[in-house]
Structures are given as C-alpha cells and as structure tokens.
Point group: C2
Chain length 272, copies 2
C-alpha cells in the first residue's frame, strides 16, 4: 500500500485538504495517511526524511508527499526524500510574487496562527452561539442569527451549525420540527418572525431510519412509519411556508454548509 | 482594493484554504474575498467570468483567482477572465498521474462529496460525542474518548473538541476544572482512571480575563484575582499530576487541535 505524507511547517490542514482533493481524482487506490505537522527546523526535516525513506524501503512503493513548507531551506531538505514531492508554496508563491510586485515573507507560522485575533473571537462566539441555540432549547436568539436551520431530528442541523461557526464564523441556530410542529397549519409561531432566515434540511427516510436506529434501536423514533411521516410532513411544511431546503442524504457536512451560504447569500465572516 | 475569488466546482473549501495560506505570506495588503462554489457548468463558468471581469474593470486592479476546477473545459472558460488564475488541479494532477501511472477522473463532485459514508458517520458520531461529553456535565463516557481535555472555563476546550470531531472524527471529551478541583491535592477522582488520555489547556490570565469579561462583565468570574488564581492553580495541578499541556493564548483552533494530536500521537480517523 502506498503511503501519503502530509508535511507542513504549520498544522498540516492545508496539505491534508489539498492531498485529499487530488487523490479523490484517482480510482481504486488504497493509501495509508500520515500527517507530520510543525516541521519547522532542519533537524525535524531530516527526521521526516528518514521516516519517509524507511517507509519507501520497507513498502517497496515510493510514497507521495503533499507539502506546505514555506521556508526554502526546510523545503530543500524534505524534497530530497525518496518520494513524489508536491509542494503547494513552491508552485504558487512565484506567480503571486510577480502579480503583487513584492517578495513573499517565506516565513512559517502565518497561516492558521493567531494572525487575526478578531477572526478567532468571531469563530468562538459563533460556536458558543450555535451551542446556546441548538435544538430549540435554551436560547432562541434568532435576532442575532444569520440563519436558522429547521428539520426533523437527525437531519444534519447540529453538525452543520457547528461547522458554519468554526469554519466561517457564521451564527447559525437550529430548531427541530416536532410532531406538534409538523401537524400545524403553518410554521411554529416562534419561527414566523424569522421566515427570511429559515432554511430547511431534509433527508431520505431510509437514511434517516438508519441513523436513528443507531441511536435508539427498535423505538417508535426509529420506526419506518414514524420516519416516513416526519420526512413527508416536513417537506410539506417547507412547501406550504415557502422555505428553501436541501436534501442532505448525499451531502458531506461542508457541502451542506457551502450550499446553504451560496443559496441564502450569507457572507462568510471569516475563512480558515 | 484587490478582490480575491475562490472558484470551485465543489464547496470552495480547498480553494479558500489554499488562497488564505498563500496570501498570509504577503504583508500589508487588504483584500476583498468572494467565494464562488459549485461552478460546474460552462454557463455558470461564463457568469463567473463576467462577474470577475466587471470587478477588474470597476476596481482598476486585476483580481486573483484561486481555483479548484477539475474539468478541463470548465477551467478553460474561467482561465479567460481578466485575473491572475492559479488552479490547484492544473498544477498537481499531471505529476500525480505520472506517479500513479493512471489518468485522473477529471470529474467534479468527488472531494467533499459523499464519497465516504463511513467518514461522514464517524464525524457525526464524534460531534455527538463531543456535545454529550462537554463541560463535565451529562455523559462522562471517558472509556470511549480518544482524549479528555481539561482546563479552566474558557480556556478553549469546547471549540477544540468540536473541531477535532468535525475535521478529524476524533472523540474528544472535556472536563472543566472548578475551584474545588483546583484546590484538591490530586486530579479529580473521576479523571484518575483516564490519566493517559488527559491533556491540559492553559491561557494567559490577561487574555482569559478579556474573554470572560465579554461573557459576564464585572463578575467574580471575570475578576483579575479569580482568573489569576485559576490559571496558576491549573498549571500547578498539571505539573503535580504530570499532565501535558498547551498554552492556547496565541493559537488558532486548528493549531491547538493539530498540536494535541501530534503530541499525544492520536490517529486522525478521517481527514476532510
């Protein structure tokens, strides 16, 4: 099996994201993944090279390195490993320097650092907001919300709100539709003043039942009739009330988040 | 001001991460950021080009495009915009095809999609675990935990646990150290059996006071003596009990997460 290394002088998040996106373009291969963050000294870089070379030798397959190494002298060391070496800064800093008409800092510790205290605080505050306004209990501070997600239990509301908070600093509340809400002629009264902020999540009954079975096996909550009733009634409510919605069955969390921001034209407050 | 576009046939998360990392290498410039996700048809690509060209003309400064466009014919359209065009797939797919000895799919919808249902479920389960095991109340399912974060209130435990869950599928619980815990001779009894899973967070008293002031202004909770006492006592407890710890004062959430996984040698269960 081929080993893929994510080597970074910082957290490795960019290298992981980059490598993952690229490898999904190739079918059928199995990989072992290793993240090596905070490789910021020549000594650490030499250790990394030794580890990668050992894997190359033991496995008999040349590893792949996705790197985000901003300092030339560190990159030069890691590049000598017996592996395919793809470095993101090496590829793009040159054209950017030419366009911006200035040299880059070539200094690590700038991305994902504390460069922007405001951004950090925004993300934390948005996370606390999501937690306080989760599942319709506790606060219902929908005045402050950028968005209020509605849907039946386990349709993906909570993880989506938390992702929007952590990744983008977006203030997202969520409100679960109960049987009582679903049987009503219109939206629950508490939501009516916030109609423009509402967005619905739906999910296939089969998938929802599977998720609920994991949580409370063989209960009314996870029974086929109940799940089918809730999904159908929620869709009908979205239609009657004119609420835009998304089917989350085939979506990853970041895809749900991104599609909602796009459709509702909500500004990202920060970007990682 | 120069406008930076993140153009993607998917969510745009990779393009945003890539662009942000690169731009932090250049000092003193201000940018306006626009994310354009789900650009997956020639018609949508033409719209994007028109928007970018309008910005170029109105602002008098050539925009920058960070793109993740996997299909050649879509990329060819966007590339014609009046902007610096940096595409991540264009740069790296070639060398990867050569190394892997196979053509890439050149198909969008693979990264951040539902490619891996197991990964999705793991992230959701880890998020639910973090929520259920947050702040020492409710569940204390430390047997299942990969990690138990300890620290005083507002030292960064909850956002870190949620980030670890959403980004990496890691099961992280957290336990807040109260005055009672801090005055004790050893770890709180409930934590003793899980000593190997414990990791401490600390923070500068000044920063902590600032954060607490936002939450409960002019309270004992946010007073200088109380904050100083708690931080000092927590550090002393970490020392006595031999608990590894990290100062979060200058760290972003992803940096805290990444440093903990690195130090504790915890495996990432998934990677976005």
């Amino acid at each position: 099996m081929r080993t893929v290394f994510f080597v970074s002088d910082q957290t490795g998040v960019t290298a992981e994201t980059m490598g993952h996106s690229l490898l999904t373009q190739f079918d059928g291969s199995q990989y072992r993944f290793v993240t090596m963050p905070f490789v910021a000294t020549p000594a650490k870089a030499l250790e990394v090279v030794a580890q990668i070379n050992a894997v190359a030798q033991d496995s008999g397959v040349r590893p792949i390195i996705f790197a985000t190494l901003v300092e030339d002298h560190i990159r030069a060391v890691v590049q000598r490993a017996n592996a395919l070496f793809l470095d993101f800064f090496a590829a793009f800093l040159g054209p950017l320097e030419a366009e911006l008409g200035m040299p880059s800092a070539h200094a690590s510790g700038r991305a994902h650092g504390m460069a922007d205290l405001t951004a950090y605080t925004t993300r934390i505050n948005a996370t606390n907001f999501a937690l306080a306004n989760d599942d319709g209990v506790g606060s219902r501070d929908y005045d402050t919300a950028d968005l209020v997600l509605i849907g039946v239990s386990r349709s993906g509301k909570t993880p989506t709100c938390l992702y929007l908070a952590l990744q983008y600093g977006v203030f997202a509340a969520n409100y679960p539709l109960t049987d009582e809400d679903l049987d009503g002629p219109d939206l629950p009264a508490v939501l009516v003043p916030y109609r423009a902020k509402l967005f619905g999540l739906t999910i296939s009954p089969e998938r929802l039942q599977q998720i609920r079975q994991e949580r409370r096996p063989n209960s009314r909550y996870s029974s086929a009739p109940q799940v089918q009733y809730e999904v159908r009634a929620a869709l009908s409510l979205f239609g009657r009330a004119g609420i835009p919605y998304l089917d989350t069955t085939e979506c990853s969390i970041e895809e749900i988040a991104s599609r909602i921001l796009d459709r509702q034209r909500i500004e990202r407050r920060v970007r990682i």
